[in-house]
């Protein structure tokens, strides 16, 4: 049935901007994404530094199991005005030891790159990032040294993760202390 209310809501959200502008289309879709995720798991939190700017936000992941339990990891999301036809840009703001995140914070997650599709949403990315901390993937590495160690010895990898998470230095890199209880 014709949903007059949804049209009215879309029009209200459009008010003040040209109705055909790409910015407003991306914003409406993004706000739908965010409205659909009112029950985030306790291991994830979103924050909007500027409440008027929905296109830039932060994500904090605090894994409660796996190699990275006890750590707190920060990401920034930048959503393009072409969203959802192009994916958000996601960066880790800390220097961490992870096979799929390089030392500059670039994230190797298929749905952020070649496998992005416009039917995915912000929640899909959150689930993907959470999964990277539970099951780092040695087959598709950005940090090749970390991936090689994960493949050869999970015990050594675990020890390296623990050391790096406490702000340790090895292999010529000083990592950020990311412990919830430093």
């Amino acid at each position: 049935m014709l949903n007059i209310m949804s049209i009215k809501k879309a029009k209200a959200a459009n008010a003040g901007a040209p109705p055909t502008s790409k910015t407003s289309a991306a914003q409406i879709r993004l706000q739908k994404d965010l409205a659909d995720m009112d029950h985030l798991p306790s291991t994830m939190a979103l924050a909007f530094p500027d409440p008027n700017d929905v296109f830039h936000f932060r994500l904090t992941i605090t894994p409660d199991e796996g190699f990275y339990r006890g750590g707190r990891f920060h990401f920034t999301f930048t959503v393009p005005t072409s969203y959802p036809h192009e994916p958000p840009r996601v960066l880790c703001t800390q220097t961490i030891y992870h096979p799929n995140i390089d030392l500059e914070g670039k994230v190797c997650l298929n749905i952020l790159r070649e496998d992005w599709k416009p039917v995915l949403n912000i929640n899909s990315i959150l689930v993907g990032l959470q999964y990277l901390f539970l099951e780092p993937n040695a087959d598709d590495p950005l940090n090749k040294e970390a991936a090689a160690i994960l493949q050869s010895s999970r015990a050594t990898f675990d020890a390296n993760v623990r050391k790096a998470m406490r702000g340790g230095a090895f292999g010529g890199v000083t990592y950020d202390n990311v412990m919830v209880h430093p």
Partner: protein, 87 residues
């Protein structure tokens, strides 16, 4: 009893023939009875479009996606090659 009708108002509603009453476009997440984000008015100028794979989106939404290289010409839901379903 004799009734004399002095005035009447017709009312009608319409919806696209999609599967469910509140079916939405998976790309923009607006209902099909609302326009896609690039259109102001719903209706014949902003119709839903089915693919041969049976998935349905606003015509403008799916064509915008398919025209991007990143789409590889695939349906966003099942990665099958997208082809407009012939009527």
């Amino acid at each position: 009893m004799k009734v004399t009708i002095t005035e009447w108002h017709g009312a009608a509603y319409w919806r696209w023939n999609t599967d469910e009453d509140d079916d939405i476009c998976g790309i923009c997440r607006h209902s099909f009875e609302a326009a896609c984000p690039d259109c102001q008015l719903p209706g014949d100028n902003c119709p839903p479009l089915w693919g041969e794979c049976s998935h349905v989106y606003h015509m403008h939404c799916i064509h915008k996606w398919i025209s991007q290289e990143a789409s590889k010409g695939q349906c966003p839901l099942d990665r099958q090659p997208w082809e407009d379903k012939r009527a």
